[in-house]
Protein backbone atom coordinates (compact mmCIF):
# COMPACT_ATOMS: atom_id res chain seq x y z
CA UNK A 1 0.00 0.00 0.00
CA UNK A 2 2.78 2.42 0.95
CA UNK A 3 4.64 1.64 -2.29
CA UNK A 4 1.46 2.47 -4.17
CA UNK A 5 0.99 5.77 -2.33
CA UNK A 6 4.64 6.61 -2.96
CA UNK A 7 4.33 5.95 -6.65
CA UNK A 8 1.26 8.13 -6.89
CA UNK A 9 2.34 10.95 -4.60
CA UNK A 10 6.13 11.19 -4.67
CA UNK A 11 6.62 13.14 -7.91
CA UNK A 12 4.16 15.85 -6.81
CA UNK A 13 5.53 15.79 -3.30
CA UNK A 14 9.17 16.09 -4.34
CA UNK A 15 8.34 18.77 -6.92
CA UNK A 16 6.35 20.82 -4.40
CA UNK A 17 9.09 20.53 -1.78
CA UNK A 18 11.90 21.25 -4.25
CA UNK A 19 10.35 24.62 -5.01
CA UNK A 20 10.41 25.49 -1.31
CA UNK A 21 13.79 24.04 -0.25
CA UNK A 22 15.43 24.57 -3.66
CA UNK A 23 17.36 21.30 -3.47
CA UNK A 24 15.95 18.13 -4.97
CA UNK A 25 18.13 15.90 -2.80
CA UNK A 26 16.73 17.47 0.35
CA UNK A 27 13.24 17.47 -1.17
CA UNK A 28 13.47 13.75 -1.78
CA UNK A 29 14.80 13.08 1.72
CA UNK A 30 11.95 15.07 3.21
CA UNK A 31 9.42 13.23 1.08
CA UNK A 32 10.87 9.91 2.19
CA UNK A 33 10.83 10.95 5.85
CA UNK A 34 7.19 11.85 5.43
CA UNK A 35 6.53 8.45 3.96
CA UNK A 36 8.24 6.75 6.89
CA UNK A 37 6.08 8.83 9.20
CA UNK A 38 3.05 7.66 7.24
CA UNK A 39 4.16 4.05 7.64
CA UNK A 40 4.20 4.54 11.40
CA UNK A 41 1.09 6.62 11.70
CA UNK A 42 -1.41 5.34 9.16
CA UNK A 43 -1.77 1.78 10.49
CA UNK A 44 -2.88 3.33 13.81
CA UNK A 45 -4.85 6.37 12.74
CA UNK A 46 -6.09 5.15 9.37
CA UNK A 47 -5.16 6.48 5.94
CA UNK A 48 -6.10 10.17 5.73
CA UNK A 49 -8.72 11.32 3.22
CA UNK A 50 -6.12 13.20 1.26
CA UNK A 51 -2.86 11.26 1.66
CA UNK A 52 -1.01 13.67 -0.61
CA UNK A 53 -1.86 16.71 1.50
CA UNK A 54 -0.96 14.81 4.67
CA UNK A 55 2.42 13.83 3.27
CA UNK A 56 3.10 17.38 2.08
CA UNK A 57 2.22 18.93 5.45
CA UNK A 58 4.39 16.38 7.28
CA UNK A 59 7.29 16.90 4.90
CA UNK A 60 7.13 20.68 5.30
CA UNK A 61 7.21 20.40 9.09
CA UNK A 62 10.26 18.17 8.84
CA UNK A 63 11.80 20.58 6.41
CA UNK A 64 11.73 23.31 9.04
CA UNK A 65 13.25 20.95 11.62
CA UNK A 66 16.06 19.90 9.32
CA UNK A 67 16.93 23.43 8.28
CA UNK A 68 16.82 24.67 11.89
CA UNK A 69 18.88 21.78 13.22
CA UNK A 70 21.81 22.65 10.97
CA UNK A 71 24.74 23.44 13.37
CA UNK A 72 25.91 26.42 11.36
CA UNK A 73 22.71 28.10 10.43
CA UNK A 74 23.42 29.94 7.26
CA UNK A 75 21.37 32.94 6.45
CA UNK A 76 19.93 31.16 3.42
CA UNK A 77 18.69 28.28 5.50
CA UNK A 78 17.16 30.69 7.96
CA UNK A 79 15.31 32.34 5.10
CA UNK A 80 14.12 29.01 3.80
CA UNK A 81 12.86 28.00 7.21
CA UNK A 82 10.99 31.28 7.39
CA UNK A 83 9.51 30.68 3.94
CA UNK A 84 8.29 27.31 5.09
CA UNK A 85 6.75 28.77 8.19
CA UNK A 86 5.05 31.45 6.19
CA UNK A 87 3.62 28.74 3.97
CA UNK A 88 2.42 26.85 7.02
CA UNK A 89 1.03 30.01 8.55
CA UNK A 90 -1.73 30.02 5.97
CA UNK A 91 -4.83 28.11 6.85
CA UNK A 92 -4.34 24.60 5.51
CA UNK A 93 -6.93 24.67 2.71
CA UNK A 94 -5.30 27.79 1.29
CA UNK A 95 -1.91 26.15 1.30
CA UNK A 96 -3.32 23.08 -0.37
CA UNK A 97 -5.01 25.19 -3.01
CA UNK A 98 -1.78 27.08 -3.55
CA UNK A 99 0.17 23.87 -3.92
CA UNK A 100 -2.40 22.32 -6.24
CA UNK A 101 -2.36 25.36 -8.50
CA UNK A 102 1.40 25.25 -8.78
CA UNK A 103 1.85 21.54 -8.91
CA UNK A 104 1.84 21.30 -12.69
CA UNK A 105 4.53 23.98 -12.89
CA UNK A 106 6.53 22.37 -10.10
CA UNK A 107 6.42 18.99 -11.82
CA UNK A 108 7.55 20.57 -15.06
CA UNK A 109 10.44 22.28 -13.27
CA UNK A 110 11.39 18.92 -11.77
CA UNK A 111 11.23 17.29 -15.21
CA UNK A 112 13.59 19.88 -16.69
CA UNK A 113 15.91 19.60 -13.71
CA UNK A 114 16.16 15.81 -13.92
CA UNK A 115 17.03 16.06 -17.62
CA UNK A 116 19.43 18.98 -17.23
CA UNK A 117 22.39 19.05 -19.64
CA UNK A 118 24.97 19.22 -16.81
CA UNK A 119 24.07 15.58 -16.11
CA UNK A 120 25.26 12.57 -18.08
CA UNK A 121 22.60 10.68 -19.98
CA UNK A 122 22.72 7.79 -17.52
CA UNK A 123 22.29 10.20 -14.63
CA UNK A 124 19.34 11.88 -16.33
CA UNK A 125 17.65 8.54 -16.84
CA UNK A 126 18.21 7.31 -13.29
CA UNK A 127 17.09 10.59 -11.73
CA UNK A 128 14.01 10.84 -13.95
CA UNK A 129 12.87 7.31 -13.14
CA UNK A 130 13.57 7.82 -9.45
CA UNK A 131 11.98 11.23 -8.94
CA UNK A 132 9.32 11.35 -11.66
CA UNK A 133 8.59 7.69 -12.23
CA UNK A 134 8.48 6.91 -8.51
CA UNK A 135 10.69 3.84 -9.04
CA UNK A 136 12.90 2.53 -6.27
CA UNK A 137 16.65 2.39 -6.83
CA UNK A 138 16.34 -1.40 -6.80
CA UNK A 139 13.71 -1.31 -9.56
CA UNK A 140 15.88 0.95 -11.71
CA UNK A 141 18.91 -1.28 -11.14
CA UNK A 142 16.93 -4.36 -12.10
CA UNK A 143 15.54 -2.67 -15.20
CA UNK A 144 18.99 -1.66 -16.44
CA UNK A 145 20.72 -4.84 -15.24
CA UNK A 146 23.07 -2.69 -13.19
CA UNK A 147 24.17 -3.28 -9.59
CA UNK A 148 21.92 -1.43 -7.16
CA UNK A 149 24.95 0.26 -5.63
CA UNK A 150 25.97 1.70 -9.00
CA UNK A 151 22.53 3.18 -9.58
CA UNK A 152 22.35 4.55 -6.03
CA UNK A 153 25.73 6.25 -6.50
CA UNK A 154 24.68 7.58 -9.88
CA UNK A 155 21.63 9.21 -8.30
CA UNK A 156 23.62 10.68 -5.41
CA UNK A 157 26.22 12.07 -7.80
CA UNK A 158 23.52 13.51 -10.05
CA UNK A 159 21.94 15.39 -7.17
CA UNK A 160 25.35 16.67 -6.09
CA UNK A 161 26.13 17.82 -9.63
CA UNK A 162 22.87 19.74 -9.80
CA UNK A 163 23.53 21.36 -6.43
CA UNK A 164 27.14 22.26 -7.28
CA UNK A 165 26.18 23.68 -10.63
CA UNK A 166 23.49 25.65 -8.78
CA UNK A 167 20.93 24.63 -11.36
CA UNK A 168 17.87 26.72 -10.59
CA UNK A 169 14.54 25.02 -10.00
CA UNK A 170 12.78 26.64 -12.92
CA UNK A 171 11.37 26.12 -16.37
CA UNK A 172 13.97 27.12 -18.99
CA UNK A 173 13.61 30.45 -20.71
CA UNK A 174 12.15 30.66 -24.20
CA UNK A 175 15.51 30.68 -26.00
CA UNK A 176 16.70 27.41 -24.50
CA UNK A 177 13.34 25.77 -24.02
CA UNK A 178 13.27 23.81 -27.29
CA UNK A 179 16.69 22.31 -26.66
CA UNK A 180 15.91 21.45 -23.05
CA UNK A 181 12.58 19.89 -24.02
CA UNK A 182 14.47 17.81 -26.57
CA UNK A 183 16.61 16.43 -23.76
CA UNK A 184 13.48 15.49 -21.77
CA UNK A 185 11.97 13.70 -24.75
CA UNK A 186 15.25 11.97 -25.46
CA UNK A 187 15.54 10.63 -21.92
CA UNK A 188 11.97 9.35 -22.05
CA UNK A 189 12.52 7.64 -25.37
CA UNK A 190 15.81 6.11 -24.21
CA UNK A 191 13.99 4.52 -21.29
CA UNK A 192 11.33 3.26 -23.67
CA UNK A 193 13.88 1.85 -26.08
CA UNK A 194 15.84 0.13 -23.36
CA UNK A 195 12.63 -1.73 -22.60
CA UNK A 196 11.54 -2.19 -26.19
CA UNK A 197 14.73 -3.71 -27.51
CA UNK A 198 16.74 -4.67 -24.51
CA UNK A 199 20.35 -4.13 -25.53
CA UNK A 200 21.72 -6.79 -23.22
CA UNK A 201 20.66 -9.87 -21.33
CA UNK A 202 18.67 -12.90 -22.37
CA UNK A 203 15.34 -11.14 -22.73
CA UNK A 204 14.41 -9.41 -25.93
CA UNK A 205 12.15 -6.88 -24.24
CA UNK A 206 11.57 -5.51 -20.75
CA UNK A 207 8.00 -4.29 -20.98
CA UNK A 208 7.95 -2.71 -17.52
CA UNK A 209 10.40 -0.06 -18.72
CA UNK A 210 8.18 0.66 -21.71
CA UNK A 211 5.27 1.18 -19.37
CA UNK A 212 7.34 3.52 -17.22
CA UNK A 213 8.39 5.54 -20.25
CA UNK A 214 4.83 5.68 -21.56
CA UNK A 215 3.58 6.88 -18.23
CA UNK A 216 6.24 9.61 -18.20
CA UNK A 217 5.32 10.56 -21.74
CA UNK A 218 1.63 10.83 -20.92
CA UNK A 219 2.45 12.97 -17.89
CA UNK A 220 4.60 15.22 -20.09
CA UNK A 221 1.79 15.56 -22.64
CA UNK A 222 -0.38 16.85 -19.79
CA UNK A 223 2.31 19.28 -18.59
CA UNK A 224 3.12 20.79 -22.00
CA UNK A 225 -0.03 20.09 -24.03
CA UNK A 226 0.86 22.58 -26.77
CA UNK A 227 4.17 20.99 -27.76
CA UNK A 228 3.56 18.88 -30.87
CA UNK A 229 6.70 16.77 -30.43
CA UNK A 230 5.57 15.57 -26.99
CA UNK A 231 2.44 14.17 -28.61
CA UNK A 232 4.60 12.83 -31.42
CA UNK A 233 6.75 10.96 -28.91
CA UNK A 234 3.72 9.66 -27.03
CA UNK A 235 2.21 8.50 -30.33
CA UNK A 236 5.42 6.74 -31.26
CA UNK A 237 5.67 4.97 -27.91
CA UNK A 238 1.99 3.99 -27.76
CA UNK A 239 2.09 2.46 -31.22
CA UNK A 240 5.38 0.67 -30.65
CA UNK A 241 4.20 -0.59 -27.27
CA UNK A 242 1.02 -1.89 -28.91
CA UNK A 243 3.24 -4.51 -30.58
CA UNK A 244 5.15 -5.57 -27.48
CA UNK A 245 3.33 -8.80 -26.83
CA UNK A 246 3.46 -9.80 -30.51
CA UNK A 247 7.24 -9.32 -30.64
CA UNK A 248 7.96 -12.38 -28.56
CA UNK A 249 7.17 -15.93 -29.73
CA UNK A 250 6.02 -18.81 -27.49
CA UNK A 251 9.62 -19.68 -26.56
CA UNK A 252 10.72 -16.13 -25.93
CA UNK A 253 12.24 -15.70 -29.38
CA UNK A 254 11.93 -12.39 -31.20
CA UNK A 255 9.21 -12.07 -33.86
CA UNK A 256 9.95 -9.34 -36.38
CA UNK A 257 7.36 -6.76 -37.36
CA UNK A 258 6.23 -8.29 -40.64
CA UNK A 259 5.92 -11.77 -39.12
CA UNK A 260 3.89 -10.62 -36.15
CA UNK A 261 0.39 -11.85 -35.46
CA UNK A 262 -1.41 -8.53 -35.76
CA UNK A 263 -4.31 -9.85 -33.74
CA UNK A 264 -1.99 -9.75 -30.76
CA UNK A 265 -1.29 -6.08 -31.17
CA UNK A 266 -2.84 -4.03 -28.44
CA UNK A 267 -5.55 -2.03 -30.11
CA UNK A 268 -6.24 0.22 -27.12
CA UNK A 269 -2.65 1.46 -27.37
CA UNK A 270 -2.80 1.68 -31.17
CA UNK A 271 -5.84 3.92 -30.99
CA UNK A 272 -4.25 6.05 -28.29
CA UNK A 273 -1.17 6.36 -30.48
CA UNK A 274 -3.15 7.38 -33.56
CA UNK A 275 -5.01 9.98 -31.49
CA UNK A 276 -1.76 11.38 -30.13
CA UNK A 277 -0.37 11.54 -33.67
CA UNK A 278 -3.48 13.41 -34.84
CA UNK A 279 -2.95 15.83 -31.95
CA UNK A 280 0.69 16.39 -32.98
CA UNK A 281 -0.43 17.04 -36.54
CA UNK A 282 -3.17 19.46 -35.42
CA UNK A 283 -0.50 21.41 -33.56
CA UNK A 284 1.54 21.63 -36.75
CA UNK A 285 4.05 18.99 -35.69
CA UNK A 286 3.95 16.92 -38.87
CA UNK A 287 7.66 17.37 -39.42
CA UNK A 288 9.07 16.72 -35.96
CA UNK A 289 11.41 13.75 -35.67
CA UNK A 290 9.17 11.91 -33.22
CA UNK A 291 5.98 12.73 -35.13
CA UNK A 292 7.61 11.46 -38.33
CA UNK A 293 8.65 8.22 -36.65
CA UNK A 294 5.15 7.94 -35.21
CA UNK A 295 3.70 8.46 -38.69
CA UNK A 296 5.86 5.59 -39.91
CA UNK A 297 4.72 3.39 -37.02
CA UNK A 298 1.14 4.41 -37.83
CA UNK A 299 1.53 3.11 -41.41
CA UNK A 300 2.20 -0.32 -39.95
CA UNK A 301 -0.55 0.03 -37.36
CA UNK A 302 -3.11 0.87 -40.02
CA UNK A 303 -2.22 -2.04 -42.31
CA UNK A 304 -4.56 -4.99 -41.65
CA UNK A 305 -1.88 -7.41 -42.88
CA UNK A 306 1.83 -7.06 -43.60
CA UNK A 307 1.06 -7.24 -47.34
CA UNK A 308 -1.15 -4.17 -47.04
CA UNK A 309 1.69 -1.98 -45.75
CA UNK A 310 2.03 1.29 -47.62
CA UNK A 311 5.80 1.05 -48.17
CA UNK A 312 5.92 3.96 -50.62
CA UNK A 313 4.59 6.23 -47.91
CA UNK A 314 6.99 4.78 -45.35
CA UNK A 315 9.91 5.33 -47.74
CA UNK A 316 8.77 8.94 -48.25
CA UNK A 317 8.49 9.49 -44.48
CA UNK A 318 12.01 8.09 -43.97
CA UNK A 319 13.18 10.41 -46.70
CA UNK A 320 11.69 13.36 -44.79
CA UNK A 321 13.22 12.05 -41.57
CA UNK A 322 16.67 11.69 -43.11
CA UNK A 323 16.54 15.27 -44.32
CA UNK A 324 15.43 16.55 -40.91
CA UNK A 325 17.76 14.43 -38.81
CA UNK A 326 20.31 12.75 -41.09
CA UNK A 327 21.68 9.60 -39.54
CA UNK A 328 23.09 6.33 -40.88
CA UNK A 329 20.49 4.42 -38.84
CA UNK A 330 17.66 6.33 -40.52
CA UNK A 331 19.31 5.66 -43.88
CA UNK A 332 19.39 1.96 -43.08
CA UNK A 333 15.69 2.03 -42.30
CA UNK A 334 15.04 3.97 -45.46
CA UNK A 335 16.90 1.26 -47.35
CA UNK A 336 14.57 -1.37 -45.90
CA UNK A 337 11.51 0.68 -46.85
CA UNK A 338 12.87 1.22 -50.36
CA UNK A 339 13.48 -2.50 -50.78
CA UNK A 340 9.92 -3.25 -49.69
CA UNK A 341 8.46 -0.60 -51.97
CA UNK A 342 10.67 -1.04 -55.04
CA UNK A 343 12.47 -4.39 -54.62
CA UNK A 344 15.61 -5.64 -52.79
CA UNK A 345 18.02 -4.13 -55.29
CA UNK A 346 16.84 -0.61 -54.58
CA UNK A 347 17.47 -1.25 -50.86
CA UNK A 348 20.82 -2.96 -51.34
CA UNK A 349 22.15 -0.06 -53.35
CA UNK A 350 21.65 2.25 -50.38
CA UNK A 351 22.84 -0.30 -47.83
CA UNK A 352 26.09 -0.78 -49.75
CA UNK A 353 26.75 2.94 -49.44
CA UNK A 354 26.48 2.55 -45.66
CA UNK A 355 28.94 -0.34 -45.31
CA UNK A 356 31.92 1.94 -44.64
CA UNK A 357 29.97 4.25 -42.35
CA UNK A 358 32.02 4.47 -39.12
CA UNK A 359 28.90 5.02 -36.98
CA UNK A 360 27.52 1.66 -38.09
CA UNK A 361 30.74 -0.32 -37.65
CA UNK A 362 29.41 -2.20 -34.62
CA UNK A 363 25.72 -1.95 -35.51
CA UNK A 364 24.49 -5.52 -35.98
CA UNK A 365 21.39 -4.45 -37.92
CA UNK A 366 23.54 -3.37 -40.87
CA UNK A 367 24.83 -6.87 -41.72
CA UNK A 368 21.46 -8.25 -40.65
CA UNK A 369 19.56 -6.08 -43.16
CA UNK A 370 22.22 -6.61 -45.83
CA UNK A 371 22.00 -10.36 -45.29
CA UNK A 372 18.25 -10.24 -45.71
CA UNK A 373 18.45 -8.30 -48.97
CA UNK A 374 21.19 -10.56 -50.37
CA UNK A 375 19.08 -13.57 -49.41
CA UNK A 376 16.10 -12.16 -51.28
CA UNK A 377 18.32 -11.64 -54.31
CA UNK A 378 19.40 -15.30 -54.12
CA UNK A 379 23.00 -14.44 -53.16
CA UNK A 380 22.86 -16.95 -50.29
CA UNK A 381 26.59 -17.36 -49.61
CA UNK A 382 27.04 -13.65 -49.08
CA UNK A 383 23.81 -13.59 -47.08
CA UNK A 384 25.07 -16.30 -44.72
CA UNK A 385 28.30 -14.43 -44.04
CA UNK A 386 26.34 -11.28 -43.23
CA UNK A 387 23.98 -13.08 -40.82
CA UNK A 388 26.94 -14.68 -39.06
CA UNK A 389 28.67 -11.33 -38.80
CA UNK A 390 25.50 -9.78 -37.33
CA UNK A 391 25.18 -12.66 -34.84
CA UNK A 392 28.71 -11.97 -33.66
CA UNK A 393 27.88 -8.31 -33.08
CA UNK A 394 24.61 -8.34 -31.14
CA UNK A 395 24.67 -8.36 -27.36
CA UNK A 396 21.18 -9.85 -27.14
CA UNK A 397 21.14 -13.64 -26.78
CA UNK A 398 17.69 -14.06 -28.31
CA UNK A 399 18.59 -12.00 -31.31
CA UNK A 400 21.83 -13.90 -31.82
CA UNK A 401 19.92 -17.18 -31.92
CA UNK A 402 17.54 -15.75 -34.52
CA UNK A 403 20.42 -14.53 -36.69
CA UNK A 404 22.28 -17.86 -36.51
CA UNK A 405 19.06 -19.58 -37.52
CA UNK A 406 18.82 -17.35 -40.56
CA UNK A 407 22.47 -18.05 -41.40
CA UNK A 408 21.77 -21.79 -41.20
CA UNK A 409 18.80 -21.26 -43.52
CA UNK A 410 21.09 -19.95 -46.27
CA UNK A 411 21.55 -23.35 -47.90
Amino acid sequence: MIDAVWRIESPRLIAGLARIVRDIGLAEDLAQDALVAALESWPRSGVPDNPGAWLMATARHRGIDVLRRGATLERKQEELARDLETALGHSEPDVDAMIDDDIGDDLLRLVFMCCHPVLSTDARIALTLRLLGGLTTEEIARAFLAPEKTVAQRIVRAKRTLAEAQVPFEVPTADERAERLQSVLEVTYLVFNEGYSATAGDHWTRPALCEDALRLGRVLAGLVPDEPEVHGLVALMEIQASRLRARVGPDGEPVLLLDQDRGRWDHVLTQRGLHALARAEELGGTLGTYALQAAIAACHARAPTAQDTNWERIAALYDALSQLAPSPVVELNRAVALSMAFGPEAGLELVDELVDEPALRSYHLLPSVRGDLLFKLGRVDEARREFERAAGMTRNERERALLLERAAGCG
Binding site: D3, A4, E211, R215, R245, R302, P304
Partner: protein, 140 residues
Amino acid sequence: MRFMVLVPGDEDSEAGVMPSEELLTEMTAYNEQLASAGVMLAGEGLHPTSKGARVRFSGKEKTVVDGPFAESKEIIAGYWLIQTKSLDEVIEWVKRAPFDGGTEIEIRQVFEADDFGDELTPELREREDKIRAETEARRG
Protein backbone atom coordinates in the same frame (compact mmCIF):
# COMPACT_ATOMS: atom_id res chain seq x y z
CA MET B 1 -0.75 -4.44 -15.41
CA ARG B 2 -4.17 -3.36 -16.52
CA PHE B 3 -7.33 -3.18 -14.55
CA MET B 4 -10.95 -2.68 -15.45
CA VAL B 5 -12.61 -0.56 -12.80
CA LEU B 6 -16.35 -1.13 -12.92
CA VAL B 7 -18.90 1.38 -11.68
CA PRO B 8 -22.31 -0.08 -10.81
CA GLY B 9 -25.54 1.52 -11.93
CA ASP B 10 -28.34 2.60 -9.60
CA GLU B 11 -31.92 3.86 -9.86
CA ASP B 12 -30.78 7.28 -11.00
CA SER B 13 -28.44 6.03 -13.70
CA GLU B 14 -31.17 3.64 -14.85
CA ALA B 15 -33.71 6.46 -14.98
CA GLY B 16 -31.31 8.47 -17.11
CA VAL B 17 -30.95 11.10 -14.40
CA MET B 18 -27.74 13.03 -15.02
CA PRO B 19 -25.36 13.44 -12.08
CA SER B 20 -25.41 16.80 -10.30
CA GLU B 21 -23.12 19.51 -11.59
CA GLU B 22 -21.11 19.18 -8.41
CA LEU B 23 -20.52 15.48 -8.94
CA LEU B 24 -19.72 16.03 -12.61
CA THR B 25 -17.13 18.64 -11.65
CA GLU B 26 -15.58 16.28 -9.12
CA MET B 27 -15.59 13.43 -11.59
CA THR B 28 -13.96 15.59 -14.26
CA ALA B 29 -11.27 16.64 -11.82
CA TYR B 30 -10.72 13.00 -10.88
CA ASN B 31 -10.44 11.94 -14.52
CA GLU B 32 -7.94 14.73 -15.07
CA GLN B 33 -5.87 13.42 -12.18
CA LEU B 34 -5.87 9.93 -13.65
CA ALA B 35 -4.99 11.19 -17.10
CA SER B 36 -2.29 13.59 -15.94
CA ALA B 37 -0.67 10.80 -13.93
CA GLY B 38 -0.55 8.78 -17.13
CA VAL B 39 -2.47 5.80 -15.72
CA MET B 40 -5.85 6.11 -17.46
CA LEU B 41 -6.02 4.27 -20.77
CA ALA B 42 -9.76 4.61 -21.30
CA GLY B 43 -12.96 5.35 -19.45
CA GLU B 44 -16.59 5.76 -20.47
CA GLY B 45 -20.04 6.06 -18.99
CA LEU B 46 -22.85 3.80 -20.21
CA HIS B 47 -26.44 4.65 -21.12
CA PRO B 48 -29.24 3.12 -19.02
CA THR B 49 -30.04 -0.53 -19.72
CA SER B 50 -33.31 0.62 -21.35
CA LYS B 51 -31.12 1.42 -24.36
CA GLY B 52 -29.43 -1.98 -24.31
CA ALA B 53 -30.28 -5.64 -24.69
CA ARG B 54 -29.19 -9.04 -23.46
CA VAL B 55 -28.74 -12.13 -25.55
CA ARG B 56 -29.21 -15.45 -23.76
CA PHE B 57 -27.65 -18.63 -25.11
CA SER B 58 -29.20 -22.02 -24.48
CA GLY B 59 -28.32 -24.84 -26.86
CA LYS B 60 -29.15 -23.49 -30.29
CA GLU B 61 -31.64 -21.00 -28.87
CA LYS B 62 -30.64 -17.39 -28.74
CA THR B 63 -33.13 -15.29 -26.83
CA VAL B 64 -32.93 -11.53 -27.03
CA VAL B 65 -34.15 -9.66 -23.98
CA ASP B 66 -34.55 -5.93 -24.45
CA GLY B 67 -33.63 -3.56 -21.62
CA PRO B 68 -34.34 -2.27 -19.07
CA PHE B 69 -33.18 -5.07 -16.81
CA ALA B 70 -34.70 -5.65 -13.42
CA GLU B 71 -31.68 -6.96 -11.47
CA SER B 72 -30.05 -3.59 -10.91
CA LYS B 73 -27.27 -5.14 -8.80
CA GLU B 74 -25.68 -6.53 -11.93
CA ILE B 75 -25.89 -3.36 -13.94
CA ILE B 76 -22.73 -1.55 -14.95
CA ALA B 77 -22.94 2.19 -15.53
CA GLY B 78 -19.38 2.95 -16.46
CA TYR B 79 -15.77 1.81 -16.45
CA TRP B 80 -12.17 2.85 -16.47
CA LEU B 81 -9.27 0.98 -17.99
CA ILE B 82 -6.27 1.74 -15.81
CA GLN B 83 -2.61 0.77 -16.12
CA THR B 84 -0.53 0.61 -12.95
CA LYS B 85 2.35 -1.38 -11.49
CA SER B 86 0.17 -3.24 -8.99
CA LEU B 87 -3.34 -3.94 -7.70
CA ASP B 88 -2.44 -1.84 -4.64
CA GLU B 89 -1.76 1.14 -6.83
CA VAL B 90 -5.08 0.96 -8.65
CA ILE B 91 -6.83 0.53 -5.27
CA GLU B 92 -5.16 3.73 -4.11
CA TRP B 93 -6.43 5.51 -7.20
CA VAL B 94 -9.95 4.17 -6.82
CA LYS B 95 -10.04 5.29 -3.19
CA ARG B 96 -9.69 8.86 -4.44
CA ALA B 97 -12.75 8.66 -6.69
CA PRO B 98 -15.75 10.83 -5.76
CA PHE B 99 -18.26 8.13 -4.76
CA ASP B 100 -20.47 7.81 -1.71
CA GLY B 101 -23.69 6.21 -0.48
CA GLY B 102 -22.49 2.62 -0.25
CA THR B 103 -21.34 2.46 -3.87
CA GLU B 104 -19.10 -0.54 -4.44
CA ILE B 105 -16.51 -0.15 -7.15
CA GLU B 106 -15.13 -3.36 -8.54
CA ILE B 107 -11.54 -3.72 -9.70
CA ARG B 108 -10.65 -6.57 -12.03
CA GLN B 109 -7.32 -7.39 -13.59
CA VAL B 110 -7.41 -7.60 -17.37
CA PHE B 111 -6.14 -10.79 -19.02
CA GLU B 112 -3.24 -10.35 -21.36
CA ALA B 113 -3.23 -12.61 -24.42
CA ASP B 114 -0.42 -14.64 -22.87
CA ASP B 115 -2.54 -15.48 -19.83
CA PHE B 116 -4.68 -17.73 -22.02
CA GLY B 117 -1.73 -20.03 -22.65
CA ASP B 118 -2.44 -22.96 -24.94
CA GLU B 119 -6.21 -22.47 -24.90
CA LEU B 120 -5.84 -19.82 -27.56
CA THR B 121 -4.53 -21.95 -30.42
CA PRO B 122 -2.64 -20.41 -33.33
CA GLU B 123 -5.74 -20.96 -35.50
CA LEU B 124 -7.96 -19.10 -33.05
CA ARG B 125 -5.37 -16.37 -32.83
CA GLU B 126 -5.29 -16.09 -36.57
CA ARG B 127 -9.05 -15.67 -36.75
CA GLU B 128 -9.04 -13.15 -33.97
CA ASP B 129 -6.27 -11.44 -35.91
CA LYS B 130 -8.42 -11.13 -39.02
CA ILE B 131 -11.40 -9.73 -37.16
CA ARG B 132 -9.34 -7.16 -35.32
CA ALA B 133 -7.47 -6.22 -38.46
CA GLU B 134 -10.75 -5.60 -40.27
CA THR B 135 -12.18 -3.47 -37.49
CA GLU B 136 -8.92 -1.59 -37.39
CA ALA B 137 -9.04 -0.96 -41.12
CA ARG B 138 -12.56 0.39 -40.88
CA ARG B 139 -11.55 2.72 -38.10
CA GLY B 140 -8.84 3.93 -40.46
